[in-house]
Symmetry: C2
């Protein structure tokens, strides 16, 4: 089964396009978890149990674990171990936004896919396909390339015009037409830019998008669904992080996100 088929199968089974983002920043955890010896892991385990029924995917932004040094990374490892053990059918994303020269990327491949055991990783495009080959060659894992990011200043370089089209569209073309030989590439397309998302969908066919920007960043679900769904009514992974995990009821909030998304399918 291809790695994208894994996501699609889970999405079908859970009737969900929702990704729950485990951005478990220590300073924001409830006091009861902060007093635990494993605050980030114990919080994540609770969030996973609360939300797994509504989740097609879980995404961990590694920065919030690195901020605690090796202890945080240990707790991230416990988290992914827990997911692989209890919910092996749920798609897992390491939001690490990596990319170096090829020989170095081989070490990141080892770290993220083999040691930690994630299904997919987010990647910067700037060094090009040749550098990213160690990731792209892993047909069993997902390569989610930054195309149009969700931040307000995303356009500084991404909107630059290259032969009459914006750089983000060139990235979308290259990844979909040239990099995706193993059918394991996806694109990051922010919910905060639905017009760009529609153009990317028109360009890349059925490719799957990881869509950040819903929730705390203000992206709109209806606009995302209209712009992002592929012809099979799938092809998007809609992430919400802080707005779910720090809600009064993460379970209720995740269910509500899933249902709001499904209302626009």
């Amino acid at each position: 089964m291809s790695i994208i088929a894994k996501y699609n199968a889970r999405s079908d089974a859970a009737n969900s396009l929702l990704c729950v983002g485990l951005d478990s920043q220590i300073e924001h955890l409830p006091e009861s978890f902060r007093q635990n010896d494993l605050p980030q892991f114990s919080f994540n385990r609770w969030i996973i149990e609360q939300t797994a029924g509504y989740a097609a995917a879980f995404k961990a932004n590694i920065a919030f674990y690195e901020a605690r040094g090796t202890q945080g990374l240990h707790e991230l490892q416990l988290t992914i171990n827990y997911l692989r053990d209890r919910y092996p059918d749920i798609f897992t994303i390491c939001d690490a936004k990596r990319a170096d020269i090829g020989s170095t990327n081989q070490a990141y491949v080892q770290a993220i896919f083999d040691v930690m055991g994630f299904d997919a990783v987010t990647l910067h495009p700037y060094l090009g396909r040749e550098a990213l080959q160690p990731f792209l060659s892993r047909a069993d894992k997902g390569c989610i390339v930054l195309c149009r990011t969700s931040n307000p200043g995303a356009g500084e370089f991404q909107d630059l015009q290259v032969s009459g089209k914006p750089l983000w569209l060139v990235v979308a073309e290259r990844v979909s037409q040239e990099w995706n030989v193993n059918d394991n590439c996806m694109l990051v397309v922010g919910a905060t830019y639905p017009d760009e998302m529609r153009q990317i969908r028109e360009t890349v066919g059925d490719m799957t998008f990881l869509v950040p920007g819903i929730g705390a960043q203000g992206g709109d679900i209806q606009a995302t669904m209209r712009a992002g769904l592929n012809k099979d009514g799938i092809g998007i992974i809609i992430n919400a992080s802080r707005s779910i995990i720090f809600a009064r009821s993460p379970a209720e909030t995740a269910r509500s996100f899933r249902d709001d998304i499904n209302a626009h399918r």
Copy 2:
């Protein structure tokens, strides 16, 4: 003292523009170190003692530590602690090539500058200045932005023409003219592209370059010195990693690199 002044002062004191890259990939360590309980740290400590006299800077590529999970990151922390304790005047770079949205970058700032304690970090430009602000705001730390990378396929996106100039030149302009308000920005410019380096030097004035690509990647020292030096005869940090640390005599090799570099000043 600004962070770039720290580099310049050490460079003067050691009469060196050399950065020793601690790319201490476990599989390549001599057997005597691999049998140690702390193989990467014990190797790094040995390399540091062998080469510090010739080094203006040390750079650790974090990928080679992440590849061993938390144990590798623990040994990277021991390495930076050792450098800060024994060689506090030597400039330290975390080659992590990070960049995310702003709120996430704050966590990377904490991880790399505050928890680990590096002087500088390498950064991807793709998300723009607004996203990188948490790094740029740290006037006490260095932000080394990828401009022209050293890999063979660097041109795929970096050479795209934007209003008649390549993307790498637009990045150089933006960083030097707009991002560098705290005088803490530098650029990554590969030794494997001396023509591009000369144009970047003409564009950015005295800004400091981190120059990878000498040694194992085949970049030429003479061409780098001609293209890269600023008007004060400094402004470059020339990195060599594998070709020094895995040489039969790292000390001799580092001294030889330093002297070859100085022969072209």
